[in-house]
Amino acid sequence: MNQTRGDALVADYLERVWEAAAGLDPVRREELIQDLREHIAAARAELSPETEAGVQTILDRLGDPAVIAAEAAVGEAPSWSAPVADRDSSAQPTGGESAGRSRNSAVKALIVVLVVLLLVPVVVCLVGALGFLAFRTEEPVENHGPVVEIPVPTEHSSASPTS
């Protein structure tokens, strides 16, 4: 009997956390519930005879579902973490246990480099186009000559004189 009462308390509590965390990223939301479920299962295993009051105490100590959900909604990374993670990924720490972590950050760094490489031609084109436009609008009549001259030496030049 106690067992089922305890189960019901836990299910109700997790349901309330789940509802309170509705605004979270789905993966985060699932992870939060999983973490709390693990905690509750471990803490319940420590109650030698499990009582309803014992289970209720575990839940009370976890705290208000709304407060937990609000904490989960706080910034994605701990404060001041971003520059640290970046620097460490390039430093390649030698510690064996953090090898997986640094590989992870190395992959992230690689993605950043690729994105930057892809952006460079786009930016160059944009700057070129803007420069071209600025050139044209600044001197509308006088510079018509040079502007037209540019396409002339290409394929068009061979086509137009012959015809």
């Binding site: 905690h39 471990a42 937990i68 989960a72 990374a77 953090s98 950050s105």
Partner: protein
């Protein structure tokens, strides 16, 4: 911000995660114990449940990692430990903290000496 509780939670932001790192700096800890130790201090104004989102952020940042171990009774337990990056972050925080605390104490007149 007006009431004492507001001030406490404001101060807690950005500090509590380093308290977690400091506890883990003493050795690998079982998640439930770790969370209980931190929540036991009322000055830190954290309930046990609010520490899991914090631990999750520390995992994602790569400062903390977890391993599963069999438990003598009940389900397998998740143990938390510091990564090398976490150790460096903790060292940096200790350094910054002392300078910051001293400066605030000087201005507030709360320094004990």
């Amino acid at each position: 911000m007006a009431d004492t509780e507001g001030i406490a939670s404001w101060l807690r932001r950005g500090t509590l995660e380093y308290c977690v790192l400091a506890l883990l700096g003493k050795g690998t800890r079982y998640g439930v114990e770790l969370v209980r130790d931190l929540a036991a201090d009322p000055a830190l104004s954290a309930t046990e449940g609010t520490l899991y989102p914090l631990l999750s952020r520390l995992r994602r940042t790569g400062w903390v990692e977890t391993t599963w171990r069999e438990s003598p009774a009940g389900p397998p337990r998740r143990y938390y430990s510091l990564t090398e990056e976490g150790k460096r972050a903790l060292d940096r925080f200790r350094h910054e903290w002392v300078a910051f605390r001293d400066a605030v104490d000087r201005v507030m007149g709360t320094d004990s000496r």
